[in-house]
């Protein structure tokens, strides 16, 4: 009987993190998460920020202040092609986003180094920053005192050496604040940090919440001239040009929501699977059964990311335009006074009608589960194809 029980086997592919990290499914999920993050960020920027209160406006103010105060001697130390200053529209953010992703990736790479190396890199980074900040001032002042052989406080020329590092720091801080979701998100995705992903989502949601509060009519009226920097739009007003169901602005908002979900689910999914693999005992990491099942799970995560989040986006779109479908349907019925009245009802086109009809549609979608045996159909197809393959 003892011979009946086979021992765990060893496969070439293992679930060690070094190998797992290079698996195409994991890389695909990470790339999907990164693309979703960048796309979401760009959608948020293009919808809410660009032209109103984007980073170039702040940097421009800083630049003007520096030029004015130093009579043109100093300006923002970073080149315009890096900050996006002087560019128009979304061109302002392409390079900063790239820098943000690279910085986040760098932070992730650092987090994978051995603790000693991490400490050493951080140490030298801090030393370099200190040197950058006060290095020139200190060297000029100390050498000045050494050559003149007297104790004195630094003079104005020497203090001016601080302008460049401080303005550099201010520029970096402004860009860092604007790029926080991208930096933290990239670090979260590639550095497997839940906190990083949570920061990216939290910051975006916080921004949207602040925007929603500030655009609330009572508060907006109090803002006065500052309100010019806050974009205010009514997503419902406009022609439903996308599939005849929703307006482009609604489409943009749905896209942000779906991209946020894709980013969140892909990034957290990778972390969850990596954690599971990490916790497995050594023998299981090498066991072909565990490797095969991990592959199954990862493949299905990819399918579900594409399929279910795609369907989520489509069903949200249809839900938002469902009142139009209903009204068209009722308008199509002739001969009834009720139908005529309902089709002209303005209430159904406003908020409550929209929400009620959208929820009605989602209720129908939920009930579809009991009507369409899609899991059985897909399982049957899979069964047939696997038999043919074998």
């Amino acid at each position: 009987m003892a011979d009946d029980v086979s021992r765990q086997q060893v496969s070439v592919q293992t679930l060690h993190l070094r190998q797992l990290r290079k698996r195409w499914q994991i890389l695909a999920l990470q790339v999907i998460a990164t693309v979703a993050l960048v796309w979401m960020y760009m959608e948020v920027i293009s919808t809410y920020v660009i032209g109103y209160l984007d980073h170039t406006l702040v940097l421009d103010q800083l630049d003007k202040y520096l030029v004015g105060e130093t009579k043109g001697e100093y300006a923002i130390p970073m080149a315009d092609w890096l900050t996006g200053l002087g560019s128009d529209g979304m061109a302002r953010v392409y390079m900063p986003i790239t820098l943000g992703v690279v910085l986040g990736g760098g932070m992730a790479l650092l987090s994978f180094q051995p603790p000693q190396r991490q400490q050493r890199i951080k140490f030298w980074l801090i030393i370099a920053l200190i040197g950058l900040l006060i290095g020139r001032l200190l060297s000029s002042w100390l050498f000045g005192m050494l050559f003149s052989w007297e104790w004195r406080i630094p003079d104005q020329d020497e203090f001016n050496y601080l302008i460049w590092p401080i303005s550099m720091l201010a520029t970096l801080m402004v860009m860092g604040f604007y790029l926080l979701p991208v930096i933290m998100g990239s670090k979260g995705i590639w550095g497997l940090s839940r906190r990083g992903v949570a920061w990216a989502i939290g910051f975006t949601l916080f921004f949207l919440a602040i925007h929603a509060i500030l655009t609330f009519p009572i508060i907006f009226s109090v803002l006065g001239s500052a309100g010019a920097y806050i974009p205010q739009f009514d997503a419902q007003v406009g022609e439903p040009t996308i599939w005849g169901l929703i307006t482009p602005q609604q489409g943009s908002l749905i896209l942000i929501a779906i991209l946020m979900l894709i980013f969140m689910e892909s990034a957290f999914g990778v972390i969850r699977y990596m954690e599971y693999a990490f916790r497995l005992p050594e023998s299981c990491k090498k066991d072909p059964e565990y490797v095969r099942q991990m592959e199954n799970i990862l493949n299905h995560h990819l399918y579900h990311t594409v399929f279910f989040l795609g369907i989520t986006g489509v069903s949200t779109m249809v839900a938002l335009g469902f009142h139009t479908i209903l009204l068209n349907l009722v308008a199509g019925m002739t001969g009834s006074q009720w139908a005529h009245q309902v089709s002209e009802s303005i209430e159904l086109q406003l908020t409550y009608g929209l929400v009620i009809s959208a929820l009605l549609f989602l209720l129908v979608v939920a009930a579809m589960r009991f009507i369409v045996p899609w899991q059985r159909i897909s399982g049957f197809i899979e069964h047939i194809t696997s038999r043919q393959r074998s």
Partner: protein, 419 residues
């Protein structure tokens, strides 16, 4: 069942929808609606636990401390994918995983099979059962979960350890009145022909003498009776009273006693002697003397299920069983001899009946010392009390062996010289 994440997402969606409606902010409403749609669409995805499991064990019976290899085969017999399923094979908490893992996350397609292989160490004797198999379906995005289980069990018996005592037994001064098989010319289990007799239910078929049966003409079955090969019957009395639980789970008088009983039984049964065993706790259970592997299995099975309970005095045991004991046969008493004032009288009675009595007594004072700090003075007093008790029992004619916790059985047997 909805997970916490799904609940928060749904409630968050509803909240955003309501807040959006209140402040006429369509962005919030759309976000809320997207979250609700996310939950709705994902509710389509339902996993199932309609899988077939079969468990193979490397052995159904094994000895304490041995490793057991387990293979759990999970097959999806349905025409649907299981979706992400966590399979967890429940193992008794007394057992420790040695290699592999008793759980796996899998996603089985129709007809697909997965094998979970692991090994466990069984540090405690007893009757155990592996299973049931717990299943937990989780949605890919961790929104819904459902827990199920498959009542698939595999029973097994962990026998006490059996140690080799042959060498110790030969070297010790324990009485050796049963040194090998000599025919007693009594009816009983053996190989040499003794007589013909009528078949009685329970006789093995191989004993039937077909020729002799045919000659009777009336269909009566006749069997060959054999001469009893065993030199003598060996009686083992095992103390399983509540007091024998003193010590740790792995080291206590009862555990030592079971090891001793199993080892003695193995030793004597190998020599083709008959071994009987009585276990006394709150009641008395008695296994009739017999020889062979079957008896060995019976003894080990009984020992596997022994648990400390009750407080039956030794004299009640000897009063009940002594009339059944064969004259002059050796009796092994495996007891710490604690909390039983009748022990000297019982031993005196047995010795008086002509039995060679060996008392193998795990030192309960020293076992207690493993779990609690006993002040030195108290320990010394208790130790002297115990030694006096042992000396008194030896004085009644028993061979007394004081068995310390860190001592092997074979070493303890050699100690028999001391009294």
């Amino acid at each position: 069942m909805w997970t916490r994440k799904a609940s928060f997402t749904f409630v968050g969606g509803i909240a955003l929808l309501l807040v959006g409606m209140m402040i006429s902010n369509h962005q919030l409403m759309i976000f809320g609606l997207s979250l609700i749609a996310f939950i709705t669409v994902n509710s389509w995805l339902a996993g199932h636990g309609d899988v077939e499991v079969s468990r193979t064990l490397s052995a159904d019976n094994l000895y304490k401390g041995d490793d057991l290899y387990v293979e759990l085969v999970v097959t999806n017999r349905s025409l649907r994918r299981t979706q992400m399923l966590e399979v967890y094979d429940n193992i008794p908490h007394e057992m420790k995983l040695r290699t592999g893992l008793n759980s796996m996350r899998l996603n089985l397609g129709p007809g697909e099979t997965a094998r979970i292989r692991y090994s466990i160490r069984c540090p405690l004797r007893g009757h155990f059962s592996l299973g049931p198999v717990s299943l937990r379906f989780r949605n890919t995005f961790n929104l819904f979960m459902e827990e199920m289980y498959i009542p698939h069990h595999s029973d097994m018996i962990i026998f006490p350890q059996v140690t080799d005592i042959e060498e110790a037994y030969i070297k010790s001064r324990t009485p050796k009145m049963y040194t090998g098989a000599t025919t007693l010319k009594n009816s009983g289990p053996g190989t040499e022909f003794y007589a013909l007799r009528e078949y009685v239910p329970g006789d093995p078929f191989k004993m039937i003498n077909w020729k002799a049966s045919a000659k009777t003409g009336d269909g009566t079955l006749i069997v060959n009776d054999t001469c009893r090969d065993a030199v003598t019957d060996v009686y083992i009395l095992l103390d399983s009273r509540d007091v024998s639980r003193i010590g740790t789970v792995l080291k206590n008088p009862l555990e030592n006693n079971t090891i001793a009983a199993a080892s003695l039984a193995s030793f004597f049964l190998k020599r083709r002697d008959s071994v009987a065993m009585a276990i006394y706790d709150e009641k008395l259970s008695y296994l009739q003397p017999d020889t062979g592997d079957k008896q060995y299995f019976k003894i080990l099975s009984s020992l596997a299920g022994v648990a400390p309970k009750g407080n039956m005095p030794l004299q009640a045991v000897t009063n009940s069983l002594a009339p059944r004991f064969s004259r002059g046969s050796p009796v092994f008493i495996l007891s710490s001899a604690e909390g039983d004032g009748t022990a000297p009288h019982a031993i005196r009675d047995l010795v008086g009946r002509g039995h060679e009595v060996v008392l193998l007594s795990p030192s309960s004072v020293d076992f207690e010392r493993l779990v609690s700090r006993i002040p030195r003075m108290s320990y010394e007093v208790l130790k002297i009390e115990r030694q006096n008790r042992m000396t008194a029992l030896a004085g009644f004619g028993a061979t007394v062996i004081d068995w310390m916790p860190d001592m092997e059985l074979s070493q303890a047997m050699l100690q028999a010289r001391g009294y």
